[in-house]
């Protein structure tokens, strides 16, 4: 029988990375995600699996420690919340340029600036469109439950090493702080140093006579070579877009109206779907699980079926741009967002859907 525990989202992902065979965590405290570092410290990971946990002097240092560990082929990660993730952008860009695998967790809080410690989804652009300098993307996973916080630890490391890419779990204060039951899996063993040499021949583990030296660098001053490097990166992102899209369809089969929402907002919309269905409105929810790669093709398909889409986000309207790009004008797309740490209520978002699409249509018909 599977082991089941009642856990906070932040604790679940911390337990998840231990069990996924993570070698190193480097982080700096910030609300609403400090439980990650606290949980790892309290769990004596060094004794449990040999995993190293270090509280760094800043998020800048944390991400560059992650860089060092990742460049040596280890499973490494950091976690933070919005202001801290902003500080990490330099290191993330360097990891993009060197194609280093790592797991990053952003338990988003409201901004800009110091903003609030309440949940928000206002870091979507930063996570999905690049964030740091240069042309790059990360794989972005959006958990909507404590179970997914746990599951995405292992999935995140798998994807990171499969594609040599940074994987960000884009959560929010609500998912991080809420408690739900979690099914845990068996411990994945950490790689031995010998396994790392075999599995990741590119990693810097010390030059042995049987191979050339390994160099991890994003620098190439030759524009022709730098263009090739960039083109190859783009090829990789394209391949990821073709192979790694994940989403959940809730009551979509006969839907006439569609919520598009991820994370906490998807939870709200799921409830709103039930409320709507009870009222006889044929409404469904498309929940993107990967924000990059985005489920554009699925939305394109749904655009042929529904009369309108409402993107619900705890932001001023960020993901809605990707919804609009996906459907390319085929169907009206509206946005509804709450800001500053306010979570919308299910009846609130259902009302908006009715106002924007259904009542308007009725009005048109009576004219």
């Amino acid at each position: 029988m599977k082991e089941i525990r009642l856990m906070k989202g932040n604790e679940a992902i911390a337990e998840g990375v231990i069990r996924a065979g993570c070698d190193g965590y480097f982080g700096y405290p910030i609300t609403p995600q400090s439980e990650v570092l606290e949980y790892l410290m309290a769990n004596k990971t060094k004794e449990r699996t040999g995993m190293i946990v270090l509280q760094a002097e800043s998020e800048i240092a944390s991400i560059h420690m992650v860089y060092g560990g990742a460049a040596s082929g280890k499973r490494v990660m950091t976690s933070s919340s919005s202001p801290g993730i902003s500080l990490m952008q330099e290191g993330i860009s360097f990891m993009a340029g060197t194609e280093l695998p790592c797991l990053l967790l952003n338990v988003v809080r409201g901004g800009p600036g110091l903003g609030t410690i309440q949940p928000s989804q206002s870091d979507y652009f930063q996570a999905v469109k690049g964030g740091g300098h240069g042309d790059y993307k990360m794989i972005v996973l959006a958990p909507a439950s404590v179970q997914e916080m746990y599951d995405f630890a292992k999935l995140g490391f798998e994807l990171a090493f499969k594609h040599r890419i940074q994987v960000m779990v884009l959560s929010d204060g609500a998912i991080g702080q809420m408690m739900e039951k979690v099914e845990l899996d068996e411990q994945v063993p950490r790689w031995t140093d010998e396994e790392i040499v075999k599995l990741h021949p590119w990693s810097t583990t010390g030059k042995t006579p049987d191979r050339e030296r390994n160099i991890i660098t994003s620098l190439d001053l030759n524009p022709v070579k730098q263009e090739i490097i960039n083109r190859n990166l783009q090829k990789k992102f394209k391949h990821i877009e073709e192979t790694e899209v994940r989403f959940e369809r809730i009551m979509c089969d006969d839907a006439e109206y569609l919520f598009v929402a991820y994370g906490s907002s998807a939870r709200i919309c799921q409830k709103a779907v039930s409320l709507g269905r009870a009222k006889g409105i044929k409404v469904g929810l498309l929940r993107p699980i990967t924000l990059f790669p985005y489920p554009s093709k699925e939305l394109e398909k749904l655009a042929k079926q529904v009369k309108g889409m409402l993107s619900v986000e705890m932001s001023a309207g960020q993901m809605v741009e990707d919804v609009r790009l996906s459907v390319n004008g085929a169907v009206p797309v509206e946005h509804y967002g709450r800001l500053g740490g306010i979570i919308p209520a299910p009846d609130e978002v259902l009302n908006v859907l009715e106002e924007k699409f259904i009542k308007e249509n009725l009005l048109c018909k009576t004219h």
Binding site: M65, F94, T204, T205, R213, N214, I215, T217
Partner: protein, 258 residues
């Protein structure tokens, strides 16, 4: 006794006085002629070769003139963002406690943008080795003022000389980190004369050897010239260094194990 050796005799191991270490690659150095960076590279590689540590070494290159150090050093290397080398090295060493991990950094890298990473790596007593090349200037970007630039010294961004009233004072970061309990061995050397090269090599040997003891961070500063940035000939720059840099940055061991 014959007074000259034949070529064949010169090549005999017992007559060998000097040879290029195998751990320097064949790539021509990108440094300006007369610059100290190349000598500093060679000394570090000589010691790693003599200690047979190539397979166990991971180096971290900074942003600065030595950004391309990995082109010249035949070891596994990572290039770090400007100033972040001590954090990168921390990440490596914590996960590979048995490897020899070092950073090679300039004064802008280590004592300006990377001050936080430097002090905290030192203060945590990371078991890494830092080689710090202090030339009192930003060489790579064309000779701008560095935190280590001497009072009155002219640079591209202090064209009338560093005015300490408005531009701050030169930072003696080496003395500062020597005061931290996390550092084990701290030394300041130069590589501008054969005698200094020999002393610097001794310090480098210690800083590498001591990492095996796991007693904390080992740090060797090399006060060096930047003849291009200082707008001098190599010889002038060495003389200027002796007359101006050494009084402010005196050579010798600053912290030695008890």
């Amino acid at each position: 006794m014959q007074d000259t050796l034949t070529d064949a005799q010169i090549c005999q191991p017992e007559n060998m006085v000097y040879c290029r270490t195998a751990l320097m690659t064949q790539a021509p150095l990108s440094y300006c002629p007369g610059c100290g960076h190349g000598t500093a590279h060679r000394l570090i590689m000589e010691v790693i070769e003599e200690m047979k540590m190539q397979a166990n070494t991971i180096g971290v290159a900074p942003v600065g003139c030595s950004v391309l150090a990995y082109d010249f050093l035949d070891i596994d290397m990572q290039q770090a963002a400007h100033g972040r080398a001590p954090a990168v090295a921390t990440g490596i060493k914590r996960l590979y406690p048995d490897k020899f991990v070092f950073t090679y950094q300039g004064d802008g890298d280590l004592a300006a943008i990377g001050t936080g990473e430097t002090i905290h790596a030192c203060n945590r007593g990371e078991n890494i080795t830092i080689f710090f090349v202090n030339n009192g200037i930003y060489g790579m970007t064309g000779g701008q003022m560095a935190p280590t630039t001497l009072p009155g010294m002219k640079t591209a961004t202090s064209p009338f000389g560093r005015d300490t009233e408005t531009m701050g004072h030169p930072l003696k970061i080496t003395e500062l980190i020597a005061n931290l309990p996390g550092t084990y061995f701290v030394s300041r050397q130069s590589v501008h004369t054969p005698a200094n090269v020999r002393k610097a090599k001794k310090a480098i040997e210690k800083a590498i050897q001591y990492q095996k003891l796991n007693k904390g961070l080992n740090f060797v500063e090399i006060v060096s010239n930047c003849n291009s940035g200082w707008k001098m000939t190599p010889l002038e720059s060495n003389k200027w260094m002796e007359e101006n840099m050494f009084p402010f940055y005196p050579l010798g061991d600053i912290k030695v194990p008890k």
